[in-house]
Each structure stands twice: as C-alpha cells, then as structure tokens.
C-alpha cells in the first residue's frame, strides 16, 4: 500500500510517500503501526485530531476500513482558496 504525507506531516516524517507492507484493518490500525516505526512517525501522529486522512483519494475517518485500499494519505486540515 502506498502511504502519502503532505504539508507539515511530510516535513515531520521526512518523505512524501512510501510503500508500506501492512495487514492493518483500519486507518487507525495503520497509524498505530506507523507510530511504532520511529520517533519521527510518533511525533507526526501524536495528535490525530490535528490530522485528516484520505483513502484512495477520498476524505474519510480514522476508523475507516483499509480493505482493498491502494493509497492512504495523511495531512493537516486543508487551506485552499
């Protein structure tokens, strides 16, 4: 599964995307796995209320299923316009 990071999440983790081997059933399960990888991940995912998530380019919630998902993206609240 491809995991993408944007804005300060990308900066904190240090890479824009990576391929992750995971059996995570939900977004939150994936977050827990990532938190356990390294300190920079734990820092980026310390407060998920400050984050938003998209699964296969659709905004969703942290309890969303990852069944069949190809791409998950984490980023701060959007500031377009």
């Amino acid at each position: 599964m491809d995991v993408l990071y944007f804005a300060w999440v990308r900066e904190r983790i240090g890479i824009p995307r990576e391929a992750v081997e995971t059996q995570a059933g939900t977004v939150m399960d994936l977050v827990e796995e990532l938190r356990g990888k390294e300190e920079r991940y734990a820092a980026a995912f310390a407060d998920i209320s400050a984050l938003r998530v998209a699964v296969d380019q659709q905004l969703t919630d942290f309890d969303a299923s990852l069944s069949g998902a190809r791409e998950v993206a984490f980023f701060p609240p959007m500031t377009g316009g």
Binding site: A7, A54, F75, M78, G80, G81
Partner: protein, 146 residues
C-alpha cells in the same frame, strides 16, 4: 463544468470573458478571484502544496455538488499551486445560472468548500522563514450553513 489545477498564472479577463461568452439560457454570471495578500507587511511569497489526482477529483465533486443544489448551467474552478508572489491570483470560480441568486450562492458554496475540502495547503514565506497556514475554525463553520 471545468476544473483546472495548474502552477502557471491564468488570465482572469480571458477566462471570465470566455466563460460568459455565448450564454443564452443563463442571465447571470458570477466570478470570484482570490489574490495573495500581505496581511502583516512581511509576506514574501505564498507556497501552495496540493495532492495531484485527489485535488482534481475533489474539486470536480464539489462543483458537481453545487450543480445538484442550485440551478446552474455551468461552473468553472481554476486553482494554482506552487510559489506565488504577493498580488498574484491564486484561484477563481465562475458560475452561470438563469438567475443571479443561484449564481451568487453557488459561487459562495464553491469557495467555502474548496477552502476546507480540496487538498491544498498554504505556506507563508516571510523574512523569518516559512510557516504553514493553520486552518481556521470559521472556515470549517462556514460549511454548516450549506
């Protein structure tokens, strides 16, 4: 309906004229343009990051939603990314409807939604460095009125 995401500048006059040209059903065209402004006198540039692929689909979904809620003949959204200087145009929306109320309301709806639901992130560059712009509660609250 047209959605454009690009780094290059766009010509607001040309886009607005082309959008309004040849309308027969629509009696009203509304346009809005967002410009990089320097609030505190120290802004050197605005950098806009986006999520290629999702940006286009999110904007298309928002424009399609506007068409279901208002009697719109057409809608246009152009949004830039990359580095923009103070005074440059960031984005524009245009709506065409039979009556002006639909055109105005749909344009406001598009603006409110693309601020908080399209994957763009702004970063302000000043002499002190660069900082990500925090999302404002008012922008999220603005969605509840629709």
């Amino acid at each position: 309906m047209r959605v454009v995401v690009q780094e290059a500048p766009f010509d607001f006059g040309v886009e607005a004229a082309a959008f309004a040209e040849g309308r027969a059903v629509s009696g009203a065209v509304v346009t809005f343009t967002g410009i990089v402004r320097d609030v505190d006198g120290g802004l050197q540039a605005m950098e806009i990051e986006h999520y290629p692929g999702m940006t286009e689909s999110a904007l298309t979904d928002i424009a399609a939603e506007a068409k279901t809620r208002w009697s719109l003949e057409d809608a246009l959204v152009i949004h830039r990314h990359g580095r923009l200087e103070v005074g440059e145009m960031i984005m524009m929306v245009a709506t065409a409807a039979r009556h002006r109320k639909d055109a105005f309301e749909a344009a406001e709806f598009l603006m409110d939604y693309l601020k908080s639901r399209a994957p763009f992130w702004k970063r302000e560059v000043t002499a002190d460095g660069a900082d990500w712009v925090a999302a404002r509660d008012e922008d999220e609250d603005a969605l509840t009125r629709w």
